[in-house]
Amino acid sequence: MSSPEPYWYLASYPKSGNTWCRVFITELRRLAGLDSAEATAAAQQEERELRLNRDLATGSIVSSRHWLDDQLGIDTSDMSWAELDKVRGRVGHQRAVYAECLRYHKVHDAFVSPDSAAQPVVPVEHCRGAVVVIRHPEDVAVSLSHFFSWDLERCVAFLLNEQAALCRSSKRGGQQVRQFMGTWANHVNSWVDQQQIPVLLLRYEDLLAQPEEHFGRLTGFLDLPSEPALIRQTVANTCFEKLRAKEEEEGGFHERPDGCERFFRSGRSGEGREQLNADQLAQLGDAFSSTFQQFGYEVSTRVHI
């Protein structure tokens, strides 16, 4: 077996800033000269595919069927979701043959699933830790709504659904396996409360408000260079307006996901409070009150504007 290489997870509920963090890491490594031009191009391509595929298919997401097939030596579409969740955490961490840039794995799964028998759904052996990025679920609802072309009511119901999962249909194929999440609070707590790998918790809101401070915590946790000037430059190069402009520019010859008008859409916080109705805000506030308290989120009431 190949010698273990360090790796980390970037764990988040969808639409909470995971891709932003990955873009930041790629850019910081490029600026610091840690990667060859070729490796940077490959990572950027991967990011682009991440944004452009509706089901978020990518080589290095932990739920990638291609990666699991390679590690398990079988066609995972011959297995049920329940069978897969039992083995996923034990696939080890061999570098996928011919794949690049596998050091920072994106993951949307909760840490454990009802099928995984209390064992992690992701490999933890030799893992250095997980960056857990969270975002106020009111804003996640709005972002999900644009991404999946769902109405807000459906998004709120999704955040509250104890069985929620990505790619959960067992009736069709796809490039990713099912990713169990449960409710938004279940998802966050499953990562924060686990004792098997170290966690760095980042709030999307803090990354927006004090980017240099909080991206600095990220680089420290990931053993990346943390000089203030480097972080400042990387923050400037990956600010929302830059990413959005880049996406526009690429739109000319790139496919965009069906139905989703753009990936880097608004990035703002507080949209949920403006767009969700009183009932929807109350549902989220009631269900997640203790988790809100734990992470310093306020329960919103309807703001009239």
Binding site: R65, G73, D78, S170, G173, F253
Partner: protein
Amino acid sequence: MPRATGHHREAFGLIWHSPVLDIPELPKRLVEPRSGDVAAVAIAPEDPECWPELPPGLHDTPFLQMGRGDLRLTVEDIGRFRITGGDRIAWHRAHQGVSDQDLCTFLLGSAVGALLIQRGMLVLHGNALEKDGRAVVCMGHSGAGKSTLAYALMQQGWRLLADDLVAVTPDGRVLPGIPRIKLWHDAAKAFGLDLVQLPPIRQGMDKYLLMGDAVHSATEAVPLQALYLIHQRRHDSQDSDASRITRITSQKTAALRLRNQAFRPRFVRGLGQEGPNFMALARLQSRVPLASLPMPSGIAAMQDWLEQQDLLQAAATAEGPAPAQQVEERVSV
């Protein structure tokens, strides 16, 4: 050499002899083999306790151990397989609750592929279909829609040569492989198939097995005419190349894409077959055109679109990518 006892089946130009485990997906051999006629493979149960220890390999995973001419695969709660010397598959049932069908599914998918690789055969991950004595091979990663495409082509007069594993001979012919198609529930339904009549690939799964009379299969090896990489097309694409078959003109891109579509590159490496495999791929690339095939989403749209394509010729006659795409092509491999 196995005795002729009526358990002989034939695929990939080999005789498969499995006296204990019936493998209905493999076609029956109509003529009993004469000694030395065709190479034979033995498939038999064995106790893994008796398997000699294998030194750790560079490409091993917790479920897969490999050495030259020896591959061990563990499928959790299903069974274990050992493939040796290119002529033997040993299997072990994890417990009595595991059905023959469960064993066959993984034996056909992984063990047979490993055995073909051990024999030095070029194995591609895709489907092969035949028309007018010529074959096309459609490749794509798991979930890309290969089986759906194969079934749609079969509705249009193509005959199925091989599903999942495609073996190509050094002189560029595709060998008849496993003539079955596995269709997900949604695809089978969209094709108007009666799901009640179809066996699931495994108990409890919403994926169905089409074999025997349900498929039109080809039984002779035929020359390979074109290679396709399939991907799903998007509705709102503004890219002019996204809706047409596009020849992959860059030799480097073609080589990398083909390499990535080889069946289980980890097996190839772990079994020490990377060198021969590289040479076989280079030979294939030099003689057969490779093109990308953007599949429209939705079964009806896909069928309509396929009606208008001449897949035997399209890869060779299609234009390469538009100039703006060539940059992309370089970075996306």
